[in-house]
Symmetry: C2
Subunit: 298 residues, 2 copies
């Protein structure tokens, strides 16, 4: 059991982790830290955290573990700010959706302490934001991808792995660059497509009718467009190269389909759709958990 | 109450309409017709239809209403085949997802009887196919778009409108070309994006990991890729021009986003995502029914 964990950024992910740690009696004392005092007060009122501080050095003092659950662009500056407040051997971990850039930021900011930095990404979330949307079950049966490097302290890695397993998640280790490529494909690209689609439709002349006659499938399909825009801007910038690569790949395939439609090539269209259906049916068969209707990856 | 309705194509939509007509005691006798005798036998066993015939002329004999619920490409030939079997004044209607092409086919095939053709599109469905997936509640609180022309018989139009309202749907009239543009945007384009995305990922080298680490949001997002490939091939071909136009529009917007990401234009990215979030949040606020998790448009 941890004596004290400090969570920087008590939003959907940070707040849900705090709730889950309490639910599973994994931590005696949880301190929150953030820019917005009203949010932190709310988090204390909701019983999500025990205490908060707006001063990051004060917040991390004495903590066994510091969890960074803030937008990706803030990583390096927050790590630099907290550095002097950390106790010796304090483990630092994060929940960012792009790992190569986070690790570069951590390496630059933490110096000698970089070996106590355990990069992690809980592949879980909803399209909602903020501590009010947090819930203790968010990580249950979801995957947390951990991307250590050879210099990462083995004991620290084990402690963070155990923490995530303790709140119901499955953990897996991947190289950071591979993580970034996989997530660009399965999570970042779908968000780009849905944000673009909804923006595209909202700018069409008959947008009122378009939204009026959209059926339930459209609401499911576009749900991820309600996700936090700032968070997703940061993900785009932090995972730029893998994301652009997979966007190029997608664009090429979409052009192939468009050409097949323009040429009325029924057989080619059928081949694309059939291959996709087969892959999708196979995917849902192998993992019934993926039928969940509450969780988005990010 | 109808004495006899004949449903050509007893699949998800045709079967659900048959079930709903029975549930609401709107029809005494329902005859099914199709190519596959095993399916029709199954439909009789399930109590979905009362009777079937493989001979379309025999099937439509004496019917008050004939409902065409088959893939779009079959419309003209089936209408020609049934023509001699129809009783005078028999109303013919359909459930096709593209209306301009269906109406051209009906006009060509039906001659004088074209005025009794009431083109309709229930904007409801699931990603499943076949009579086993049919259910009586499918159309409840869903929109049925009817696209009559000036020559459409007013009494026939009223009867079909009442039929759909009788099974719980809301009806609305739109010009066929406008229907096709709206559906291309809200339904056909999303299916193209998801089929293309899943096919794209399934062809990547690390596809096993890609599908393994996809979270719940991915399952929601890609659910429509499990839809019937033949049906969607026909929709693409039948609604080619409006679909290509909206695909072009989407492609342009996706390229704008890609350029913004490549240039690390954070403000521009944020603007796109914020506009999309606002439109999507507004859309779901105005129509809580759109939260349904069972229905896809098609």
């Amino acid at each position: 059991m941890f004596k004290k964990i400090t969570i920087i950024g008590v939003g959907l992910i940070g707040g849900s982790l705090a709730r889950a740690l309490k639910r599973h009696s994994l931590c005696e004392w949880i301190t929150g830290c953030g820019r917005n005092e009203a949010t932190l007060q709310k988090a204390v009122e909701l019983g999500v955290i025990d205490h908060y501080s707006l001063d990051i050095r004060e917040a991390v003092a004495g903590a066994d573990v510091v969890v960074l659950a803030t937008p990706l662009a803030t990583t390096e500056s927050l790590l630099r700010e907290m550095l002097d407040g950390l106790k010796p051997g304090c483990i630092i971990t994060d929940v960012g959706s792009a790992k190569v850039s986070v690790m570069a930021a951590a390496r630059a900011a933490l110096g000698d302490r970089f070996r106590y930095f355990v990069p992690a990404h809980p592949v879980a979330g909803t399209e909602k934001s903020g501590v009010e949307a947090s819930f203790a079950e968010l990580f249950e049966k979801h995957v947390v991808i951990i991307t250590p490097v050879p210099e990462t302290d083995v004991a620290s890695n084990k402690i963070i792995t155990d923490m995530w397993q303790g709140v119901g998640a499955t953990t897996v280790e991947l190289p950071a660059d591979h993580h970034d490529e996989v997530l660009a494909a399965t999570s970042h690209l779908p968000h780009m497509l849905v944000y673009t689609l909804v923006d595209c439709l909202a700018r069409m002349q008959d947008r009122e009718e378009i939204f009026a006659y959209a059926a339930g499938g459209f609401a499911d399909f576009t749900r991820i467009a309600s996700s936090n825009p700032e968070m997703w801007r940061d993900i785009c910038l932090a995972n730029r190269e893998p994301l652009l690569a997979v966007m190029d790949n997608f664009e090429q395939r979409l052009q192939d389909l468009k050409q097949a439609i323009a040429a009325s090539e029924g057989d080619q269209i059928l081949e694309i759709f059939s291959r996709a259906k087969q892959a999708r049916d196979r995917f849902t068969r192998t993992d019934p958990e993926n039928h969940s209707d509450v969780s988005d990856e990010n």
